[in-house]
Symmetry: C2
Subunit: 159 residues, 2 copies
DNA sequence: CACATTTATATTGTGCACAATTCAGTTAAA
DNA sequence: TTTAACTGAATTGTGCACAATATAAATGTG
């Protein structure tokens, strides 16, 4: 019923099917996080930043804006205002590095650290809410990583 | 080296791995479309709207804003300004339905129809650029659909 | 040292997403 | 038929993403 054979760009071509599925799935999953994250006063991208900061805190290393950017694949145009909002909420502190004043380091406040306990419930609640077998999710994760790996390896070797 | 065993929310829990991978992969793929779409003067969401309109045009049915919303899972808060931009570029015409003035139908202009020919090259160019075996992509598509199906079936039966 | 280049972040502007609200128009009920 | 409830789209406001540009600081070169 959904089979098509149009030579031109239609929603049935493989690339469209995949990219559209990615587009919709990403928003659907983010929407699943939303009600869980409002309790913490976080958006999903903010939650990702906090995850990185919590992880880094355990390793004892200072986190720079560029570290967050490398990890989350976001640039300063996205991160700077986001981090300012997190700072406004008292979860992080942004400060210029004394050695190299171009660098801004991002550190957790006590409130930022403490939030981690509440956040601990989220993964379980989300997985339960999705209602998909873990095996399927692992398969999805692996397929995503494979494609992502291929995408990030190349520079711009298209055409 | 990336194995962790933290009981609290960290980037290594399965849900974070999957959702983060989705988040990054979606942006990476959209970034791949961008240089191909600038030739058409479209963003990726605009391209999706055009794909639906091209498809609908072949079936002869009129497309309402709510049809686009149902297909793309977007609400009027996103679609209305997007469609206005497409109308400004002369690709679509928005008009109130005479029978039911609450409804707005979206129709392609000649320029909108004609753009389809150029768009026809995009799927192939994108797939070639990704450099991943079609088999893998099909697997990814199917896994995405499975999870998406599970997500969209439920209402809010979480907790 | 002076000067060009590079690096790290910030700023500006555009375009999604989405919650919440509004509003016109339709339908249903009293 | 007046009113109440509902529907479909538009509006408003917030928060990402990202391109392009700007700024300041560090680094390299002659």
């Amino acid at each position: 019923m959904t089979v098509q054979s149009d030579p031109f760009g239609d929603m049935q071509s493989l690339d469209n099917q995949i990219c559209f599925a990615l587009y919709v799935a990403n928003r659907a999953v983010t929407a699943r996080y939303r009600p869980l994250l409002v309790d913490l006063g976080l958006t999903y991208p903010q939650y990702l930043v906090m995850l990185v900061l919590w992880e880094q805190a355990r390793s004892g290393r200072l986190t720079r804006v560029s570290d967050l950017g490398a990890r989350l694949r976001l640039d300063s145009g996205t991160l700077t205002p986001m981090l300012k909002r997190l700072a406004d909420r008292g979860l992080v502190i942004r400060q210029r590095n004394l050695d190299d004043e171009r660098v801004v380091t991002v550190a957790l406040t006590k409130a930022g650290h403490d939030l981690r306990e509440q956040a601990g419930q989220i993964p379980g609640r989300l997985l339960r809410g999705i209602g998909v077998e873990p095996g399927r999710l692992v398969a999805l994760r692996d397929e995503l990583r494979r494609v992502l790996g291929a995408l990030e390896q190349q520079v711009g070797a298209s055409d």
